[in-house]
């Protein structure tokens, strides 16, 4: 059976006085795709941002409770977030490649983490990352062109390649396909299928159909609480909780 890669226990998140997450207990399995669904503002993005400590950039955000990866406490004040983010990568809703060349986009991460000291090592890393994101064939002849010259779907795959380039263990995806057309979306979903063999993936999505397609485990959030979590098939065929069922069948008023 799968091991647990990330575990959260009694996780609370506050933005100033407003509480955004209430007592979240959620386990994420290794080399599996976990989908987080729920209406807007329910806290799913807040949750994944706890995993790579991106909530730190928001001054008024406070996180209490336990969240661990491989037994290491992510919330520890003394934890080196730079090292954490090497292990936990993130792909955002709107593709945000750096305004640099495609090559530089991918090589930036490894360079700052000291992976790849010679040019040929970096070349290799860039090629591998682009191959793993199914983008290599399309861009191998134009690595010097700016990352922003690609189409939306390609840009998102570039961002995925960028996340992979530092060899993380976990990839967090915050609605990665919401800005893409159906063809680009299909390519990314295919990619996720492949990637889950190597990485643990957490995906926040508004598309129920996508959650069913790509994930093995699904968690339903509502107003900051984790209402139900379980095997994807069960959640979408026969959920235990009425709120979950109301949400996925479109009965939310």
């Amino acid at each position: 059976m799968s091991n647990i890669k990330i575990k959260s226990k009694n996780l609370d998140v506050f933005y100033g006085d407003k509480q955004a997450l209430f007592d979240v207990n959620l386990d994420l399995n290794e080399k599996e795709v976990t989908a987080l669904i729920g209406p807007s503002g329910c806290g799913k993005s807040t949750f994944i941002r706890c995993i790579n400590r991106m909530n730190d950039v928001i001054d008024i955000c406070k996180v209490t409770g336990n969240i661990e990866m491989d037994g290491m406490n992510i919330n520890d004040k003394n934890l080196d977030v730079v090292a954490l983010r090497e292990k936990v990568g993130m792909v955002f809703q709107k593709p945000n490649p750096f305004p640099k060349s495609i090559y530089d986009n991918i090589s930036y991460g490894p360079k700052i983490h000291g992976k790849g000291e010679t040019k040929s090592e970096l070349d290799q890393i860039v090629e591998n990352s682009l191959k793993k994101s199914a983008l290599w064939e399309e861009v191998k002849d134009r690595l010097d062109e700016p990352g922003t010259s690609l189409s939306g779907g390609q840009q998102q795959r570039l961002c995925i390649a960028r996340a992979i380039s530092v060899n993380p263990e976990v990839i967090l995806m915050d609605e990665p396909c919401s800005a893409l057309d159906p063809i680009a979306t299909a390519k990314i979903e295919e990619l996720i299928d492949e990637l889950k063999k190597t990485y643990t993936i957490v995906i926040v999505t508004h598309s129920m159909a996508q959650a069913v397609r790509v994930s093995q485990k699904t968690g339903f959030f509502h107003l900051g609480k984790l209402i139900e979590v379980g095997k994807t098939e069960k959640i979408f065929k026969n959920p235990d909780n009425k709120m979950t069922q109301d949400y996925i069948t479109g009965r939310f008023g």
């Binding site: 950039v57 983010r85 090497e86 955002f92 305004p99 930036y108 922003t148 996340a163 530092v166």
Partner: protein, 420 residues
């Protein structure tokens, strides 16, 4: 009102508005054209100087140079006698007074011009050459048509005899206009025909250079700190308000500040580009900080998040990603700030750059003037010859300013294209 009438009225209102807009542009352009035309018409003559073509014979006896004399000895030779000898020959004068009047037709630089010509070619001993010697200011202005001839002699600056000589020279084609190298090479002078912006230009350049070297790094680093690293609290807000206010402080206040602190307390040398540079830097700081901060703010947070997510530290995310994107805006803001600094007059007057400085400064701690101050000084002068020089200096200033602004626009467009 029917629907059609209403529609018609709306269209008419639009047409009226467009008319007002075009009329405003037209009026604005008209003012600019009038201004530029005025300056150019007054100043273009300054780029030429009147010269009198004269034969010069280098009499060895008068020069008192032996055969085989060394270079140093030649340098020491006195060319005054040679000058007098040759200039008197330009026109028959019957007495001392007329000789004096004849000599006054030439500028006071004539001796040095003859010496320079001699030094250029050592084989001139005993030889005669033809030189274009700079005419005096009065002849210069007369030849440029600025002196009315139909006044009685007592009210003219040029005597009747001088007029006769002048007309004779004109007839013999011995008077012409050459390119006025003195305007660019010389420093200030009591003689308008010899006065140039050389000193002021170098002084301005040194001042702006020092201003840039001091203001740019400090402003950019301050902006980066305030925008990216400083905690968002009341103190930071307070600083921001004050910086915005500083940009609006009249520049003369900075002059007073410089006077008290730089000159009186620290006792830096007066009237130097060093002090000017520091004063301008203080003034330009807020003018660079404001566009720099705006450029930093304009960088979308997604870029920062992207960098952080890949494991960059805050410092790396700012300096590797945000700052390069903010650079075009910062640069164009800096260039505009420097262009403003170039044209500052009041603070520089207060720190003493109104002194009459003849020499071209060789370092930032030599006393000097600056272009706008030079304009001020010359505009106060009584001599007619300075009028064209003042306008010509303004033309130079405007040219620099326009070039700097174009560079700013070009840089901004070039860098912004790379981003998108």
């Amino acid at each position: 009102m029917t629907k059609d009438e209403r529609l018609k009225k709306r269209h008419q209102a639009e047409k009226r508005f467009r008319f007002y807009g075009l009329a405003s542009i037209f009026v604005a352009l008209l003012f600019v054209v009038i201004l530029v035309q005025n300056i150019f018409s007054k100043g273009s003559s300054a780029f030429k100087k009147t010269v009198i073509t004269t034969e010069v014979f280098f009499d060895q006896e008068l020069l008192e140079i032996q055969n085989g004399a060394s270079q140093d000895e030649i340098m020491e030779a006195d060319f005054y006698d040679v000058m007098i000898e040759n200039l008197i020959k330009a026109y028959p004068a019957k007495d001392r007074d007329e000789e004096d009047e004849l000599l006054k037709l030439f500028s006071s630089e004539a001796e040095i011009e003859i010496k320079k010509a001699f030094l250029k070619d050592n084989n001139l001993i005993g030889k005669t050459i033809t030189l274009d010697l700079t005419a005096s200011d009065d002849i210069d202005q007369l030849h440029k048509g600025n002196y009315p001839r139909d006044l009685p002699e007592e009210r003219r600056r040029i005597s009747n005899f001088q007029l006769i000589i002048y007309d004779y020279f004109v007839e013999k084609k011995k008077i012409s206009k050459n390119f006025n190298n003195y305007f660019f090479n010389n420093g200030d002078s009591r003689d308008p025909e010899l006065a140039g912006i050389g000193g002021a230009l170098v002084g301005s350049l040194y001042s702006i250079l020092i201003c840039l070297l001091l203001a740019f790094p400090v402003a950019v680093l301050a902006s980066i700190y305030l925008e990216e690293f400083a905690p968002k609290n009341k103190i930071t807000d307070f600083i921001e308000i004050n910086i915005n206010n500083l940009a609006a402080v009249p520049s003369i206040v900075y002059g007073l500040l410089a006077l008290q602190i730089l000159l009186a307390t620290i006792q830096l040398p007066r009237s130097t580009p060093l002090v000017a540079g520091i004063t301008l830097a203080l003034m330009t700081l807020p003018r660079i900080i404001i566009p720099c901060r705006a450029s930093l703010k304009a960088v979308p947070p997604s870029i920062r998040e992207g960098a952080l997510a890949v494991g960059a530290s805050k410092f790396q995310s700012v300096f590797h990603h945000v700052v390069p994107l903010a650079l075009p805006g910062t640069l164009s803001g800096t260039i505009i700030g420097l262009a403003q600094a170039l044209g500052e007059t009041a603070p520089l007057i207060l720190i003493g750059m109104v002194a009459f400085v003849v020499d071209i400064p060789s370092s930032p701690v030599d006393p000097s003037s600056s272009l706008p101050v030079q304009v001020y000084l010359w505009s106060e002068s009584a001599e007619r010859g300075f009028v064209e020089k003042t306008s010509a200096t303004i033309m130079m200033l405007l040219t620099f300013l326009i070039v700097m602004n174009f560079v700013a626009v070009y840089l901004r467009q070039k860098f912004e294209k790379r981003w998108n």
